[in-house]
């Protein structure tokens, strides 16, 4: 009879222990998932910052490329764009392809991507202005746009350096905190 009681107590203890372990494991998994989700969220925001910085860096390189072509070789705009696309795979490539595929520069519709609405409109305005001016005026216009986009590029680059890693860490900790709070 003592053995039966002992076995009964042991069985009851094991059952309770199993339930508690399962609960602990489930909670642990939830916290991991929340942390992972937070980290991925942070990585997404970080990548957007880096892509934006890369976009403006590519835009600066593109303006330098065009300026040189306009001053010296004077190739048609579509050839200049095609050459740049062939040599450079950048965040700017999609917009340049959209521009090159349009029947005329003014009708080109550019996707916004990582840019703000006003920034995208400015890039659209820049691309639409290409080819409508004589060489001296075009060179001056390119210089103006270069300075304008340089400021945006500098801002995007700084934000990327400052916040890219921070967003990943923040995402992780926020996810972790959320997981713990939910528990």
């Amino acid at each position: 009879m003592n053995c039966k009681l002992l076995i009964g107590c042991l069985f009851s203890f094991l059952k309770t222990f199993q339930r508690r372990t399962a609960t602990i494991i489930t909670k642990f998994l939830l916290v991991i998932i929340a942390s992972a989700a937070g980290t991925f969220g942070g990585m997404y925001l970080s990548r957007r910052l880096k892509t934006r910085a890369g976009y403006y860096a590519a835009l600066g390189a593109f303006i330098n490329h065009i300026s040189s072509e306009v001053k010296f070789r004077k190739n048609p705009i579509k050839i200049i764009v095609a050459d740049f696309l062939a040599d450079n795979e950048t965040p700017l490539s999609k917009n340049l392809s959209e521009y090159a595929d349009a029947p005329d520069p003014i009708s080109a519709v550019l996707s916004r991507g990582v840019l703000k609405k006003t920034e995208s409109a400015e890039v659209q305005k820049f691309l639409s202005s290409l080819g409508y001016l004589d060489s001296d005026t075009q060179v001056c216009e390119l210089q103006l746009y270069k300075e304008k986009f340089a400021a945006l590029s500098s801002d995007a680059s700084e934000k990327s350096k400052k916040y890219a890693a921070m967003y990943v860490k923040l995402g992780f900790f926020l996810g972790l905190a959320l997981g713990i709070v939910v528990l």
């Binding site: 004077k74 048609p76 705009i77 005329d104 080819g131 409508y132 004589d134 060489s135 001296d136 060179v139």
Partner: protein, 308 residues
């Protein structure tokens, strides 16, 4: 060529041209700011309306100022900066051989022309290759012996078309002749991005958009031509270039504006050429039976070798 025109003209102007007219008879399309669009059709000028040609300006399509600028930019493949030299010269040559003459506001830096802006009108000239146009001149100037030849006519009588066909025939000749085409205004071969848009013969080298003095000198040294063909001699520098070529043993086929060969001697710069008998053949062209009609071929003494 209709495709080239469609790249330059907007839809509402292109539609009646493509839909209602015979493209082969269109020689010019003239657009003037705030004025009716005009066409040289079969040698006569008409207005362009939505239904085709019209003699009345009231029915005609009017070219707005921004349309003129748009046509010029389209003609440059949306690359106006790339054609500044051509803008300064007053014309562009585009794919298909179309020649777009431009009028506008000249921007100067002292005496030098920097560029042209605020375009006010364009004249799109459509070249038509007429194979066989030079048959008579070829027969009397090239078939047996090559003669230095001057083709003479008033404007619009077909000198360029005849010269182009002459280049084609000489350039395709067997045994081969090396032909140098000095295409100062890019009308003969209508080169676009290094490619001749019109047939000027297999053995033909082309120097385009260059002065005759430079092209003759550099071409003779570098390309060793047997024949040089060039359009529109005018003035002493051109005459000197021809004399240089003749003295180098190169045969020259050229053209000049005048009513006929007898008037050539009166043109400034030509006295020397006539006196030295540089040209042994003169070909008179007229519009009497359509552009390119050969009225006569004359020798250095102005005796008729062939006449109508």
């Amino acid at each position: 060529m209709a495709e080239s025109l469609s790249k330059v003209l907007p839809e509402h102007i292109l539609k009646p041209i493509v839909g209602r007219l015979n493209y082969e008879k269109i020689y010019e399309v003239r657009l003037r700011s705030n004025r009716p669009v005009a066409l040289n059709y079969g040698g006569k000028f008409y207005f362009l309306s939505e239904t085709g040609l019209s003699c009345e300006s009231e029915n005609a399509i009017v070219a707005e100022p921004k349309l003129i600028a748009e046509v010029v930019v389209r003609a440059t493949d949306y690359s106006l900066y790339a054609v500044n030299d051509q803008l300064k010269a007053g014309f562009l040559t585009i794919r298909g051989g179309l020649r777009v003459g431009i009028a506008g506001e000249v921007v100067r830096d002292g005496e030098a022309v920097c560029t042209v802006k605020n375009f006010t009108s364009v004249n799109i000239r459509i070249p038509h290759e007429v194979k066989g146009a030079a048959d008579k001149p070829y027969k009397f100037c090239c078939q047996n012996d090559l003669h230095n030849t001057l083709i003479v006519s008033p404007p619009g009588a077909g000198k360029t078309t005849v010269l182009r066909d002459l280049a084609r025939q000489l350039g395709n000749r067997f045994p081969a002749l090396n032909v140098l085409l000095v295409d100062e205004r890019n009308e003969l071969a209508a080169s676009y991005l290094g490619e001749a848009q019109l047939d000027v013969g297999i053995h033909t080298d082309i120097i385009a958009n260059s002065s005759k003095a430079y092209a003759f000198s550099a071409g003779i040294r570098a390309l060793a031509p047997d024949v040089i063909i060039t359009d529109e001699l005018s003035g002493a520098p051109d005459a000197a270039a021809v004399e240089y070529a003749a003295a180098s043993g190169v045969k020259v086929f050229a053209s000049a504006h005048a009513s006929d060969h007898l008037d050539i001697a009166l043109k400034p710069g030509f006295e020397s050429l006539i006196k030295k008998r540089i040209f042994s053949r003169f070909v008179d062209l007229s519009m009497s039976q359509g552009a390119g009609t050969c009225d006569g071929v004359f020798d250095a003494d102005f005796n008729a070798v062939y006449s109508v």
